[in-house]
Every structure is written in structure tokens, then in C-alpha cells.
């Protein structure tokens, strides 16, 4: 029994290692070695047998994961932005709504925006009913995603702790966990000893500067591999006939009589009457091209990773109060997330005092990490809404739809966001799940304020 489980786990790891390509990058998606079958959108399935077969040829004959087609002059729908959300939208447009004459236009490479820069925390323990329903839909899709896409997204439900450092935090956590459970979302309130039992690496000895009084725990929460999510959706969408076009920045949007006509791109004009904008930090720029304004502000959010070490921390630990969160990747790196810069910025770095504050908080809570060396630090430009909730909505221009404002916490929503946005684009009306997340809510006052309520900014 034990052996069987070990064997299964080993197999799983093997498949993970092999199906995940070493580097993101445009080169990999070139046309060399591209077989006929694939060009017609017929992907070979990944399986234990394909793995064994390819082992005999030293893994040199794996098929390209998706085509690199030249843009057609016209599509039934065009999605701008090849991050997780844009690619998921394209996949569900093809899969659920039968729209296969569509394209995803990405200015750089797939997942090169926030998707490939985030700390990959997945949870659905949001306070308000509207958010809970949306993020829980995403969670349910995550739970079957690797199978659905035939691509290992390394979704790991290792549990997410949100720490309480004072009495108010604790009460807020109790309130939120109650709200979650009423919405059918799993959640538990732990006391300090239970936190220590669940996550032994945390230091509770002397109370410290940030004493831990307890935490909320969502056991179904965890992490996933970020670029695998982009690649998995890209490959699955491509197999359904979607054209995924990289290095194709959109430079202008043509609108006539209040209706979208098409987009000007670095690779020529493309005609369409359905346009989905899913560009995160660049949303305001695209909205401006189409002639409307958004309530979002773009700010860098940063993260850093350490040198790889043996397994040291078994779950995700987040602290809203000190604005730090940590987990360990399967490669062994500590993955640490920080807060946002306090001013508008498009530099993918993040301000140094923010790094310092975050690292100080991590060292305080986890003294065992004090001597770890940090290997890389970077930033992603996140689009923050006044109520810290996303916009998945129609716009003032007929045929243009926008999916933005995910700010610091949209990775966890990737499958649900794409699913709901595809419905909105295909049917020209929102699904009940995203109906509250309109652009118009800033006029009506129906805000979904998840600022403090969502445990932390993620």
C-alpha cells in the first residue's frame, strides 16, 4: 500500500518534470519541428505512455505545445492579453461556447505579465457573498484543472493560514470563517497552539514583535505552478483551434458609431466585433485607446525567492497586518510576497523600502529563515480598484468587454475569471457569477469592498 502510494507520487513528480518546459519564451513556440497534426490543432495527449515513448528518443521529439500562426485578417473574437486570464478566456470561449475562430494577442510572451510573476497563492475564503461565489467557482475548477487541460498545473492544496496578531484580527477572522462556512467554503479558526502544530516552522516562543493569537485555515487552499497555468490553457485552447499570437502588441482600437471594428497591432490590422481586454496593469492604456476611463490605478507589487532548501514550510502562511506571505516551491525556494508601492508606477521592480519591511516581518515570524539568501526579486504591475474587487464587464463601447482590476490577487481566480468572462463575451451579457462585478458599480455605489475583508491584499 505504502509502496503503491510512493510509486504514484514518484510518477506524478516525473510527469510534472517532463511536461513542464524549461523556459517560457517565444523561441520555443517557433515553427521548427512542427508536425502536420499539430498545425490542424490536434495536440498529442500527454500520458504515461507518451512519456515512456518519448523516453526512448531522449525526449527530443516532444511536439510543440502550441502553434505560432500568422494573424488572420478577421476573427469572431479577439482577446488582448496572453496572461492566465486571457488564455483561460480563450479556452472557455472555444470549449463552452463553441467560438473557435478567435485569437489571443500578447505583446510579449505568454505569462510574462503578472501571471508569471505572482506568488501563486490560491484560496477562496473571501468575505462577501459576491466574491465568495466567484473565487469558489475558480477553486472548483482548480480542483480538476490538470485533468481538464491534460497539463500538470501542480495544484497543491497544502492549506493557507491567515494569521491574527491581535484581538481585532482574531475577531475579523472568526467573522470571515463564519461567512465562508455559510457560503459552503471550508474554513477553520485555529488558536496559537494549533497554528504551531499545523506549521511548526513558525516561532511563537516569546510572543515576538508580531505575536500570533490564532489564524484562519482553508485546507483546500494552496499553490499552483504559475506558468504551467498559462501554458496549459494555451495548449488546450490551441488544440481547439484558437490562434495564440505572441509578440503582437495592440497599438490602437478602432471604434465607429460606438461599436468596436478591430484592432491595430504591430502585425497589422485585425477586424473583429468582439474584443476582450485582459491586460492587468495596462488596462487604463487599452481603455483609453477605446475612449473610456477606468477607476484602476497601476502599482508595482513585488516578490522574491530564496536559494532552494529542503522542505521547511509545509503550507502557505499569510499575514495581512505585517503584509508578508510565504510558501515553499517544489524546487525548494522560499517564495515571499510583499505589499504594493504606494504610488502609481509601471516599473516591474517595486520600491526597496517595501522589500525591506517584508523581509523584516518574515524574519520576525520565522527566525529559522534569517540567514537564507535571496536569489531574485521582481515586481509586476497590478491594477487596483477602489474596492479591491475586479471588473468583469461590458463597457461603454459595444462589443468591448473588460476583465481587469484583479490587483494583487487574481491568480487564484484565473479559471473562474476566464470562465465567467468567456460567458460575458460570447453571450454579450454577464453570467450571474460576475454580474455584480460591473464597471457601472462605481456609479451605482454597489461596491464589493474586499480591502480588509479578504484577509490580506491577496
Amino acid at each position: 500500500m505504502r509502496l503503491k502510494r510512493w510509486f504514484k507520487a514518484a510518477l506524478h513528480r516525473r510527469v510534472a518534470a517532463d511536461t513542464i518546459q524549461p523556459e517560457t519564451g517565444i523561441g520555443r513556440c517557433g515553427t521548427t519541428g512542427w508536425s502536420e497534426g499539430a498545425a490542424t490543432g490536434m495536440n498529442k495527449r500527454y500520458s504515461i505512455f507518451s512519456l515512456a515513448r518519448n523516453a526512448f528518443s531522449r525526449h527530443e521529439n516532444w511536439q510543440e505545445a502550441w502553434r505560432s500562426p500568422t494573424p488572420k485578417p478577421r476573427y469572431d473574437a479577439v482577446i488582448i492579453g496572453g496572461g492566465g486570464h486571457g488564455l483561460a478566456t480563450a479556452y472557455y470561449l472555444a470549449k463552452q461556447h463553441g467560438m473557435t475562430n478567435i485569437a489571443v494577442l500578447e505583446r510579449g510572451w505568454l505569462g510574462g505579465g503578472n501571471t508569471g510573476r505572482n506568488t501563486t497563492i490560491v484560496r477562496s475564503n473571501y468575505l462577501w457573498d459576491e466574491s465568495a461565489a466567484l473565487y469558489e467557482q475558480a477553486m472548483k475548477l482548480w480542483e480538476g484543472l490538470s485533468r481538464e487541460l491534460n497539463y500538470n498545473v501542480m495544484f497543491s492544496q497544502r492549506g493557507v493560514l491567515n494569521l491574527a496578531h491581535n484581538l481585532h484580527d482574531l475577531r475579523e477572522i472568526q467573522r470571515r470563517v463564519n461567512a465562508n462556512r455559510l457560503n459552503g467554503i471550508d474554513g477553520e479558526v485555529l488558536d496559537a497552539q494549533q497554528v504551531k502544530d499545523f506549521c511548526p516552522a513558525i516561532d511563537l516562543r516569546a510572543g515576538g514583535r508580531y505575536p500570533v493569537l490564532g489564524a484562519s485555515l482553508q485546507r483546500r487552499g494552496g499553490t499552483a505552478r504559475h506558468d504551467a497555468v498559462a501554458w496549459g490553457y494555451a495548449r488546450a485552447a490551441d488544440a481547439l483551434g484558437v490562434d495564440i499570437i505572441q509578440e503582437c502588441p495592440v497599438q490602437g482600437i478602432r471604434v465607429a458609431d460606438g461599436k468596436v471594428q478591430g484592432v491595430e497591432t504591430a502585425r497589422g490590422y485585425i477586424e473583429t466585433n468582439k474584443l476582450g481586454i485582459v491586460v492587468a496593469g495596462h488596462s487604463s492604456l487599452l481603455a483609453e485607446m477605446a475612449g473610456f476611463r477606468l477607476p484602476v490605478q497601476s502599482v508595482p507589487l513585488q516578490a522574491l525567492v530564496s536559494e532552494p532548501v529542503k522542505p521547511a514550510i509545509n503550507c502557505v502562511v499569510m499575514s495581512g497586518a505585517v503584509h508578508a506571505y510565504i510558501s515553499q516551491s517544489d524546487k525548494g525556494e522560499l517564495v515571499i510576497g510583499a505589499g504594493v508601492d504606494k504610488y502609481v508606477g509601471y516599473g516591474q521592480r517595486g520600491s526597496q523600502p517595501v522589500t525591506e519591511e517584508t523581509v523584516a516581518a518574515i524574519c520576525e515570524m520565522f527566525p529559522i529563515f534569517r540567514r537564507m539568501r535571496m536569489m531574485r526579486q521582481w515586481g509586476g504591475i497590478v491594477d487596483v480598484c477602489p474596492d479591491a474587487s475586479p471588473i468583469i464587464s461590458k463597457t461603454p463601447v459595444e462589443g468591448i468587454y473588460i476583465n481587469c482590476g484583479w490587483g494583487t490577487g487574481g491568480f487564484k481566480a484565473t479559471p473562474g475569471s476566464g470562465w465567467a468572462f468567456a460567458h460575458t463575451v460570447a453571450r454579450n451579457e454577464p453570467h450571474p457569477l460576475n454580474a455584480p462585478f460591473t464597471l457601472d458599480r462605481y456609479r451605482t455605489g454597489y461596491l464589493i469592498d474586499e480591502h480588509g475583508a479578504a484577509a490580506v491584499a491577496h
Partner: protein, 97 residues
């Protein structure tokens, strides 16, 4: 990290300041006359330029006074600092794709 030249105290680290967002937004003179859409615009819609921004800062851990800054949001270069109430200085537009 920004080094901001407070007009009253001189150059200090960004950690001494708090941020006030887009500058030159005038409070509506006759609020009761505004439609919901105009209110939404006033309360929520902000410029979010990739390029030149004019914004307000306050020297929270210093003189506690407000002032305006013109800054490039990509290079993070501070182009000029000018007092509250002053007309925005004439600077060449900067826009990045």
C-alpha cells in the same frame, strides 16, 4: 526608492511621505447638481498614465505640508516639484506604449 525634494525641508526618502494621487482635481462647486456618473468620475476615476503624471505628496514625517510633483511613472524620474494651487508646469508629454 524615490528621493523627493520637499519644497520646505529639502530632499528626503520616500518613506517620509504619504501619497495623495492625481493632482488638480477640483472639488465640484455645486455638488447637488452632479449626476451619479459625474460623482463617480470625481470620486473614483483617476488618470493612470504610463508616462508623465502630476500627483500630490505630503511630507508626513516632516513639515506635514502638501505639494505637487511631476514624475515619470516608468523611469521614476521626478521632473519638478511645485506648490499646491499653482498651475501645472508646462512639460513635454511623455507616453510609453
Amino acid at each position: 526608492m524615490l528621493l523627493i525634494d520637499c519644497p520646505h525641508c529639502g530632499p528626503r526618502s520616500e518613506t517620509e511621505f504619504s501619497y495623495g494621487g492625481e493632482a488638480h482635481i477640483a472639488r465640484p462647486l455645486d455638488p447637488a447638481a452632479l449626476s451619479d456618473a459625474e460623482w463617480a468620475d470625481y470620486v473614483f476615476l483617476r488618470d493612470n498614465p504610463k508616462g508623465l503624471i502630476r500627483e500630490r505628496w505630503m511630507h508626513a514625517h516632516g513639515c506635514r505640508r502638501w505639494f505637487n510633483v511631476a514624475r515619470d511613472t516608468v523611469t521614476y524620474e521626478i521632473l519638478t516639484v511645485y506648490p499646491m494651487g499653482a498651475e501645472p508646469p508646462d512639460l513635454p508629454e511623455r507616453r510609453y506604449p
